[in-house]
């Protein structure tokens, strides 16, 4: 299986503090890769480097055969990198459907005048967008809430909308920043099932950050363990589970 994403010697620091330190790893096409590690290990920073919210100090990223040092978030989206956010970053005054439609923006081809005056490519685009949005909304069982303003939904539902929004444009690579944070065990199992289904149904390659090691080791096919911005371990869940460095750095500590 070829690699969809490679990081080569990526470093990132904030005011001299190294958040990510000469890190390299690869994500194979179609896999679910989990980044785990204690708070402050550099996991979120790493996702932000991959889709261009932060700019790496050194190192390269190779995505889908294209190599770049730094990338603008919009460009990353156009290349097919989608993501969700650790903290709620939904368009809170819009409905669920409008949020998902906004997630389709990069698939738009009509000019703003075509969109406003409803001629040319607008009609086909509108239908395409609505069909795709409703498909994703149904897939994530959000049908009942399609017309609800997202700020009125429960936290767990909002996380699901965030996922729907990121999935809408059918990204090749989906970055999930703590998709189960703040959920109870039952909700976590449900979300985990949804993520596995996304991976299976759409073939989407997924990189996710999650603290619940039990969940992660069941969900992911590939686990990368970080500590203080460095890679501690990289392998299958079984390899990682039995790695003494991991047990020392992470699994052995209480959270």
């Amino acid at each position: 299986m070829s690699d969809l994403l490679q990081l080569r010697d990526v470093s990132l620091s904030f005011k001299g503090v190294k958040a990510v330190n000469a890190l390299s790893f690869s994500v194979a096409t179609g896999e679910i890769c989990a980044l785990i590690g204690p708070n402050g290990a550099g996991k979120s920073s790493l996702l932000n480097v991959i889709n261009g919210v932060y700019r790496a100090d050194t190192g390269d990223i190779v995505f889908n055969g294209a190599r770049f040092g730094a990338i603008h978030p919009q460009k990353a989206a156009l290349l097919g990198i989608g993501r969700t956010f650790q903290h709620n970053a939904l368009f809170h005054r819009l409905t669920v459907r409008e949020n998902v439609l906004a997630g389709l923006s990069r698939r738009g081809t009509a000019t703003f005048l075509e969109n406003i005056f409803r001629f040319g490519r607008d009609g086909a685009e509108r239908r395409r967008f609505i069909d795709r949005a409703d498909e994703i909304i149904a897939f994530l069982h959000l049908d009942r809430h399609a017309e609800t303003v997202v700020s009125k939904l429960s936290y767990g539902m909002q996380k699901r909308v965030d996922l729907a929004r990121a999935l809408a444009a059918a990204p090749k690579l989906l970055l999930l920043d703590e998709p189960m944070a703040g959920m109870n065990q039952e909700e976590k199992q449900e979300m985990s099932r949804v993520i596995a289904e996304v991976n299976r149904s759409f073939g989407t390659t997924i990189v996710l950050i999650e603290h619940d090691v039990g969940i992660v080791l069941n969900l992911a096919s590939h686990v990368v363990v970080l500590d203080y911005g460095r890679k501690v371990a990289d392998g299958t869940p079984d390899e990682v589970r039995n790695n003494p460095d991991v047990i020392a750095a992470y699994l052995g500590t209480v959270h």
């Binding site: 956010f85 409008e98 923006s105």
Partner: protein, 342 residues
């Protein structure tokens, strides 16, 4: 055929027909010249200005403290177009004046790509002071008139004169109806949705691939287009004679108040806000006159007193109803509906 078009635009047919009837049949039949000239025309035109700013501020989440500058550009553009391009029909004059204001809007919207919030507000003040200075210092714009004023030309469409109060009302009302329709088309398009996405969470919008910079500049352009057309109406259909200082900072703040009072991210709310801005001073005038408050001071003191009361009402309203008059109205309608349903 028209109903087919309306359903394609998902527009409610009945309210639209009723609204058009009131606008083009009931009001012209009922209102006298005073009502048309002093209340209805300014309310329509200022409501339109409110829409212009609301598209920018309420929908795209951007800031402008220089709305009047773009009205000013529209007014002076129209004056010069009519003066220097003989035979240019009025609708084209309005369109081109709006486009000139839109171009200026793009230029003064450029800082929005770098700065946000309060500081962006300060930078849009630049437009306010720059254009007031430009149009009052270069007399070419006012055809070298001694007083630096511009006067309304003979307004006509297809040979029909629009000089009477009724004619000027028809001009203002027709443009208003068209631009309300345009505003609805905009906020219900992908453009409108992406504006609201940027307003609610800019980082997420960018990560989803929304072209944030382009959308922001389009917001400034379209907002300024509305304000530019509004400026032409204010100068020609309402005032008749104006100068650069007609469109001063006070006017910009009036437009801002209309948006806040009427309701952020609404279209019709702007007309409620405009009615409030136009009517309240007139009512206060009457009240002060009727109450015979002359013992409080001379005319100047009374005028100041009115301003204080006006300001206090605005503050009170915004504390009691931060979402503006349109939210108040929506709740009232809901209450009535609940009463009759239950």
């Amino acid at each position: 055929m028209p109903s087919g078009l309306l359903s394609r635009l998902d527009a409610p047919l009945l309210p639209i027909v009723a609204g058009l009837l009131v606008t083009f049949a009931v009001i012209p039949a009922m209102a006298d010249d005073y009502w048309l000239s002093s209340i209805i025309i300014p309310t329509l035109v200022m409501g339109l200005a409110g829409i212009g700013l609301n598209l920018l501020q309420g929908y795209a989440g951007l800031v402008s403290l220089g709305s009047a500058a773009f009205m000013l550009i529209g007014a002076f553009s129209a004056y010069n177009l009519i003066l220097r391009v003989p035979g240019l029909p009025l609708p084209l004059v309005l369109l081109i004046s709006g486009l000139i204001a839109a171009a200026a809007g793009v230029v003064f919207g450029l800082p929005s790509l770098r700065i946000r919030g309060f500081y962006l507000g300060a930078s849009t003040l630049g437009a306010q002071f720059f254009f007031e200075w430009l149009f009052s210092n270069f007399t070419w714009f006012s055809n070298d008139s001694q007083s630096l004023t511009i006067s309304a030309p003979r307004l006509e469409i297809l040979g029909y004169s629009l000089q009477s109060p009724l004619g000027r009302y028809f001009l203002a009302a027709s443009v208003t109806v068209l631009l309300i329709g345009l505003a609805f088309l905009i906020v219900r398009s992908r453009l409108g949705r992406e504006w609201m996405a940027i307003r609610d969470m800019e980082t997420a919008a960018s990560v989803l691939g929304i072209r944030v910079a382009r959308r922001k500049l389009q917001a400034y352009a379209i907002s300024s287009f509305f304000l530019g057309v509004t400026g032409v109406l204010w100068a020609f259909a309402y005032l008749g004679t104006s100068d650069a200082h007609t469109f001063n900072l006070d006017k910009s703040f009036q437009v801002l108040f209309i948006v806040l009072i009427g309701g952020v991210a609404t279209i019709f709310g702007n007309f409620l806000g405009a009615a409030f801005i136009v009517l309240t001073p007139i009512l206060l005038d009457r009240v002060v006159l009727a109450a015979d408050l002359s013992f409080l001071g001379d005319q100047g003191a009374l005028t100041n007193l009115q301003r204080i009361i006006f300001g206090a009402i605005i503050i009170l309203l915004l504390i009691k109803e931060p979402d503006g008059l349109s939210a108040l109205l929506r709740r009232a309608r809901q209450a009535v509906r609940n009463r009759y349903a239950g």
